[in-house]
Subunit: 322 residues, 2 copies
């Protein structure tokens, strides 16, 4: 078993060098890893190097790990050579189940025993992808957001045949690599963030399909509206604040009826006692002792800071140093 | 007809002083209006004054209009007195159709002829709310986001019996009052932003109802994930970037199949040629001449700035002034 301590990993292999795989490579390079990439596309290497080059100024601002260097990027001619010395493998192939299944079996065969192999899949359950691998126990999902070098979230979950220790190892590894990890204890198609994002996306597609809104309207309605809050306060806590001092309970009392309105193509669940309590208690837990006034002040300052950061509000005058 | 030029409005009446109505009052005060409020709740006034007081530091940071002063807030004892001299009325009563219908008829009766009366409704079509008013032509929807004093978006739309000039007037008034206006040419339950937001919200409720994710997971999955991008780049343009240099067309080619996956409870529309072209052309229009590289650089800088603004990345060292 060649599974190193998660914090000691030095060599990472990225399989697939498209937007996501290339983004992972850029992230790992910036965190100071040796990164080996394999991608079967003939133009993969120049595209990858362009991507890393374009990302590097952002990564420099984010703060490079000691020794981080784009020169530590190596492109391997074959999958087998790419994986031969890997201490962690991140697969980011196109989103096709058969392809992922075959590729994960090949990666499993080519990678030293025990080393964890993670898939960037946007939504396939690992249970469906790990069927043909000789050692399915080390195969996990590590689902990033675009671009992986900037968006902290990684959703980590195993399949039915995944060793729970491989899931735990992957979560610790991603944390060591500077990511924000959401470990799931069950497989849910689309995980958490993608289910939320996808519901919004499908509603947007329906609106465009029916001529109800344009791409511009949709984008503006988010960036000028709820998107400003979601950068720092999630939809649940945000809606709890819409309930005023009465919080989520008051919000559900007030807007519960609207769940029956056709505000989206998505049918709402029954707002029974259990769900009501789950939301109210969940928001209390998420508030973690912050009062309504604390949360309002935090949200207000957050929106102002985001408006300022995105150039929609001038910077405050700096006080002279005297 | 007592409808002033939108830029000349000096006196605004807010009916309902809960979280939304009170937030509107705070916004209008900060923009330098005289604001009269009416709310039937016995504790409305102290609650309202607390809200305005709590919002004022944020409003000061946003930049107060000349003469803006919380002392210009007046609470009227009756609806009739509140509306008698109004040049614009914003209704923010609880979200109940019958109540809104009756209230709008009363507001119409109490407000000088021609003055526009807007409803903050989160999703009722004005057509359903304007049925009993004597002059339905001046009734429009002006749907804000919480808190109305911070989130720029207002969705403006009329009902079947609304005078299109009242809609156009409201849009110009809100712009003069510092809002970002999305004018809709048809009634869509939930408008645009709320349909998108509500789809996400219902998916979240389903997940909590089924024990698939906690409130904390849901909130973190947004603030650590897609929420960071949505503060400045909408879901369409964001997804266009996920298509790499091939943009939205490549993204749809690549992920189109996933629309059939059960990633959300919301069924996707058929990705036919018309929708495909609508998304690709819409994104090209939204990009407004910016190249893929421009958009990537903009997104990267945006995420970094938002991470910094929300305290998740240290400020860069300031250069000494020498």
């Amino acid at each position: 078993m060649a599974r190193p301590d998660p914090a000691d990993v030095a060599r990472v292999t990225c399989v697939g060098a498209g937007v996501i795989g290339g983004g992972w490579a850029a992230h790992f390079l910036a965190r100071g890893y040796d990164v080996t990439v394999w991608d079967p596309a003939p133009d993969a290497e120049p595209r990858l190097r362009r991507l890393v080059e374009a990302a590097w100024p952002a990564l420099t601002q984010l703060g490079l790990a000691p020794g981080a260097d784009p020169a530590r990027l190596k492109v391997a001619p074959t999958l087998e050579e790419a994986c031969a010395e890997a201490e962690f493998v991140q697969e980011s192939a196109p989103e096709k189940l058969e392809l992922k299944r075959d590729l994960l079996a090949r990666l499993d065969a080519a990678t030293p025993p025990g080393v964890v192999v993670a898939s960037s899949t946007s939504g396939y359950p690992m249970t469906d992808m790990q069927t043909t691998a000789a050692d399915p126990g080390r195969l996990v999902v590590g689902h990033p957001f675009n671009p992986p070098y900037l968006i902290p979230l990684v959703e980590v979950v195993g399949g039915e045949r995944t060793d729970p220790e491989a899931v735990a190892w992957a979560a610790r590894f991603y944390e060591a690599a500077g990511k924000s990890v959401l470990t799931m204890d069950r497989e849910l198609p689309g995980f958490v963030a993608n289910r939320l994002q996808e519901a919004l996306w499908r509603e947007a597609l329906h609106m465009v399909a029916n001529g109800e809104a344009t791409v511009r309207d949709i984008d503006a309605s988010i960036t000028e509206g709820p998107g400003l809050r979601w950068a720092f306060m999630g939809p649940c806590l945000t809606f709890a604040l819409a309930g005023g001092e009465g919080g989520m309970a008051h919000m559900l009392d007030h807007f519960g009826e609207s769940l029956k309105s056709p505000w989206t193509r998505l049918e709402a669940p029954e707002l029974d006692r259990k769900l009501y309590d789950g939301m109210v208690d969940g928001c209390a837990e998420a508030a973690a002792g912050r009062s309504h006034a604390d949360l309002v002040a935090e949200r207000d300052q957050g929106v102002i800071d985001v408006l300022r950061a995105t150039g929609r509000l001038p910077e405050p005058p700096r006080r002279s140093a005297g």
